[in-house]
């Protein structure tokens, strides 16, 4: 069910298999960490924000078996496992600090990034930036040794002059064509500056490609449409990553010694049209000039959940090179392209 059992903690002696070399390499940083801190980082309490989202629940489901998990979300956590402590509070409130003050937190996993283009700009902006800033302040004040931010490969932005595979050094240009993305870019930048300002905390920024699964995000919702509209004459290559592969990347990022920015991609890329036909959906090619106008109109009439600038994602490439995650984190994708695509139609079980 979990398929993640063989990700062992660094203490476990590796039995000299082929992957032990890679594991040893990923432990390079871990050797410098004092024993007690290492202990704390591998078994201490993890705060997970946005735990009530579909991805958040999956992360909690995998994490709570091995260590204590504290949830932070403004939504209620229905069907919560007994051993997960949940605080239903707004991230912008002062109360967030109490969560950190009263217990020794050993890691913060920030999944509570809001990206709902329908929401008002101000709410969006303060939630994402103020909320995250509050969390980072708390992490600094109470010496949290690990901060993991789930950003997204979308921060690079789909552009006609994108390299086929963007490295972690590529500029974050998503907001140039789609200004609602600026929150997400700034959030990523905030984590980057925290990384440099506080070297005692291991900051990890994960930038996964399109996450597919039972999650409710734009790419999964798009592929769930009964007839999938595409832009006539455009068929960009796309990358998808299974939601559980993202969960395993988060678990790898929590290991002591891991720090920095990592792109996460799943199985090899394929053309969008091929992905749609593998799902057995019909395609509806629309001329791009018309599509932009129609989607914009539908958006304003609240008939679609896709804002018009998102059309660029099915027009240009926005793919990442995840060689660094595979080499340094030891990340590998477990789900092939068929399973990853099929996951959008799965029944939700958590």
């Amino acid at each position: 069910m979990s398929g993640l059992e063989d990700i062992d903690t660094p203490e476990t002696p590796t039995n000299g298999d082929a992957s032990s070399d890679r594991r040893r390499r990923s432990r390079r940083g871990a050797d410098l960490i004092p024993r007690d801190l290492h202990e704390r980082m591998t078994s201490g309490v993890v705060v997970v924000t946005g735990i009530c989202g579909r991805l958040g629940r999956r992360v909690a489901r995998f994490l709570h078996r091995e260590r204590a998990v504290v949830g932070l979300d403004r939504r209620p956590f229905t069907d919560r496992p007994k051993d997960i402590e949940h605080f239903q509070i707004d991230l912008r409130r002062k109360k967030v600090k109490d969560v950190f003050r009263n217990r020794q937190i050993s890691a913060l996993v920030h999944l509570g990034v809001m990206h709902d283009p329908r929401d008002s700009g101000e709410d969006h902006h303060t939630w994402n930036l103020l909320g995250f800033q509050k969390l980072l302040d708390a992490a600094r004040q109470y010496d949290v040794p690990k901060v993991v931010l789930l950003s997204s490969a979308n921060v690079y932005g789909p552009r006609p002059d994108n390299a086929q595979f963007l490295s972690e050094d590529a500029p974050l240009l998503a907001a140039s064509a789609f200004s609602e993305m600026r929150d997400l870019v700034e959030l990523d930048m905030l984590a980057q500056s925290f990384f440099w300002k506080h070297p005692n905390t291991e900051t990890v920024i994960l930038r996964p490609a399109h996450i597919l699964g039972t999650v409710r995000n734009a790419p999964s919702n798009y592929l769930r449409l009964p007839v999938v509209p595409t832009l006539m004459g455009f068929d960009p290559m796309m990358q998808a990553v299974h939601q559980d592969d993202v969960v395993s990347a988060i678990r790898l990022a929590l290991r002591p010694g891991a720090r920095g920015i990592f792109n996460i991609a799943g199985p090899p890329a394929l053309p969008l049209s091929q992905a749609i036909s593998m799902l057995g959906r019909g395609q509806l090619p629309v001329p791009h000039m018309l599509a932009r106008r129609v989607v914009d109109r539908l958006w304003r009439m609240r008939l679609t959940s896709f804002p018009a600038p998102e059309l660029d994602f099915i027009r240009y490439v926005c793919m990442v090179d995840d060689a660094r995650a595979r080499e340094v984190l030891g990340y590998t994708h477990r789900y092939g392209i068929e399973q990853t695509l099929a996951a959008v139609d799965q029944e939700r079980w958590v």
Binding site: P160, A163, Q164, M232, G233, D235, P268
Partner: protein, 308 residues
């Protein structure tokens, strides 16, 4: 004469005369088409396609979206231009090394037919058949169908990261360092190379790839350009806007059927520091540029006629 007998007689005629005639006509057309296809595509076209396809399938698919089946149909169309319309003569295809290489060519002809012809030369006349990966203008990515066709035939956006990745994949890169300055040259400056960009040389040094100079003769005369409207190009957001009078003559929309000559030169090897100063890189680029210019000059001297 009732209606029934009229129908019977009509069917008699059909059975005796019309059908055999149609069949004969069909057979004859098929023979002509087959013969023409053989002349255009050559006897080993299918085999060449299969060899190229096997290479990319062995790699587990091309990450840039090259689709060998789609490329097959595009190259069947391009072969008509290559073999029948422009009747290309390919010189020195054996000079192209087997592994990674950068084909550096002069750019001319208002629309990039020269790239297609070089690609066809490498696909249909070289041994083994190769698919070239041209570095294309990013503007082409914003155009419907054209962008899709480029992607599926393996052409990529001209950014250094893509070029580097492809060279590590042991591919054959085609680049036109003159860029749009070269392709839209007015007729008075035909066969005079424009300034070269330096990027290709840095990549060649960095990835230790040989540079193959390529000269294309015949493309400059296909569309006669009397000048460029720079201000209008800027206003409507296209890279260049050449004035080509023949486009206004009915039937002049097709390029003139000049005979193409493609010369592949000896591969050149460069070493040094890829991050060297511009002035040092410029010297190496100058060497390539002069080689291509002298290949062009020699080719023009050898050319007997524009059209034959």
């Amino acid at each position: 004469m009732n209606r029934q007998s009229a129908l019977v007689r009509l069917s008699d005629v059909a059975a005796r005369d019309v059908f055999p005639f149609a069949r004969k006509l069909l057979k004859q057309t098929r023979r002509v088409v087959d013969e023409l296809a053989l002349r255009t595509l050559g006897p080993d076209f299918e085999e060449r396609v299969a060899r190229v396809k096997a290479r990319y399938e062995g790699m587990g698919g091309d990450p840039f979206g090259l689709d060998p089946d789609f490329t097959k149909y595009v190259s069947m169309g391009a072969a008509v231009f290559h073999r029948l319309y422009f009747r290309t003569v390919v010189h020195g295809a054996e000079n192209v090394p087997l592994g990674r290489a950068l084909l550096i060519s002069n750019h001319s002809g208002q629309i990039p037919i020269d790239g297609v012809i070089i690609a066809m030369a490498m696909f249909m006349d070289a041994e083994p058949p190769r698919i070239i990966r041209a570095m294309i203008e990013k503007w082409a990515q914003t155009l419907p169908f054209i962008s899709m066709m480029f992607n599926r035939t393996g052409q990529v956006v001209g950014v250094p990261e893509n070029c580097e990745r492809l060279l590590q994949q042991e591919e054959l890169i085609l680049a036109f360092p003159e860029g749009t300055r070269g392709i839209s040259k007015p007729f008075t400056r035909r066969y005079q190379l424009e300034e070269f960009g330096l990027g290709f040389m840095r990549l060649a040094i960095q990835t230790r790839s040989p540079v193959v100079p390529v000269a294309v003769i015949g493309a400059e005369e296909q569309f006669i350009n009397v000048g460029n409207l720079e201000w209008l190009a800027k206003a409507i957001g296209v890279p260049v806007l050449p004035v080509v009078p023949q486009l206004f003559i009915p039937g002049g929309q097709m390029p003139l059927p000049t005979r193409y000559h493609v010369y592949f030169g000896e591969p050149m090897h460069f070493d040094g520091d890829p991050d060297d100063d511009d002035s040092i890189i410029e010297e190496k680029v100058w060497l390539v540029r002069q080689t291509i210019q002298s290949m062009i000059n020699r080719g023009l001297k050898e050319r007997k006629s524009l059209f034959f």
